[in-house]
Amino acid sequence: MSPLLVRLGVLVLVTLLLSLLVWMGRRFVEMRRRQALAAEPLVLEMLPDAEKTIDGIVEVSKAGADKAEAGATKETAVRILAFSSDDCHQCHRLQAPALQRVREAMGERVTVIEVDAPASPELTQRYHILTVPSTVILDAKGHVHAVNYGFASTQRLLQQIDTVLAMTV
């Protein structure tokens, strides 16, 4: 067999293995996303009580700045759970500014709830979080509408929010 054919065979084999790996990875992520989308509604109306039971939700008070703002969030149509961690470079450099732009664009209709993923095992398990940053889009009743593993752009978040708003009108 000519060396050219051997090399071509090796390349095809590597490509097939790579394709298999990619397919398995995609299936795994989609499975986790489906599980997250099927999660029980998160009842945010019980936020003060939830602070005692759902560990990560404590971060709401930090993100919301004060109790008044936390109270206002109960009227919002869309909530975004933003999973991050202190040492997550991408969370701070990309995701946080994108979420800020979403807040500026949507005003009071959207509330961003920052969740410290390492300190919030209950929420990370609930939404099958694989990485940080991750964002979970919830409607007013706490139902999950979208789960983004990895960085989600402003445009993508706005599209997902529009979908939720269109469904609730």
């Binding site: 390349l11 997550c88 470079h89 991408q90 701070h92 732009r101 664009a105 949507m106 445009q155 706005l158």
Partner: protein
């Protein structure tokens, strides 16, 4: 949506189609080099990636994209929010692998190791091209966690001071 458009003006941006074009070229060149057993193709790819990482404005991939691919309508720029720094770092990592491969292929008898390095770049560029997972960016962010890259100090109100 006007607010949203205005709000996005200050975002970090990347032309994702230029990225895909660069990855596609890297996949093609590394595969071709291996199949036809031509180490000089590995060296050329390495030098292209060195330029892309160090001086992106004169990257041959970018020039080809800007002056041939886009004018011919083969691809259109697709600007998305993203940080260009990790992508440049990733190209630097690819360049380092290919330079190491070139040294092994030209100056030593460890040609198998050289071709393995070439195929590693082929695989990683292929993963980035097909599923958008950038292994070099992954390394970049983990180095950041270890404090080996400049840390972004974060103040309230989303103002940044120093990168």
């Amino acid at each position: 949506m006007e607010n949203a458009t205005a709000a996005q003006e200050h975002a970090l941006r990347v032309d994702t189609h230029l990225g895909k074009f660069s990855q596609g070229c890297t996949v093609l060149l590394t595969a071709l080099a291996f199949v036809v057993n031509q180490p000089w193709l590995v060296l050329i790819t390495a030098l292209i990636m060195v330029l892309s990482a160090l001086v992106p404005t004169v990257s041959p991939y970018r020039l080809l994209y800007k002056w041939v691919v886009v004018p011919l309508g083969l691809l259109r720029p697709r600007i998305v929010e993203d940080d260009p720094a990790p992508h440049r770092f990733a190209q630097g990592v690819g360049a380092a692998f290919l330079l190491a491969a070139s040294i092994l292929l030209f100056l030593t008898r460890l040609t198998t190791v050289g071709w393995v390095l070439d195929l590693i770049v082929f695989v990683l560029a292929g993963i980035n091209l097909t599923v958008g997972f950038c292994a070099g960016c992954f390394v970049y962010y983990h180095l950041g966690r270890l404090g080996l890259l400049p840390r972004v100090r974060y103040e309230g109100g989303f103002h940044w001071r120093g990168v």
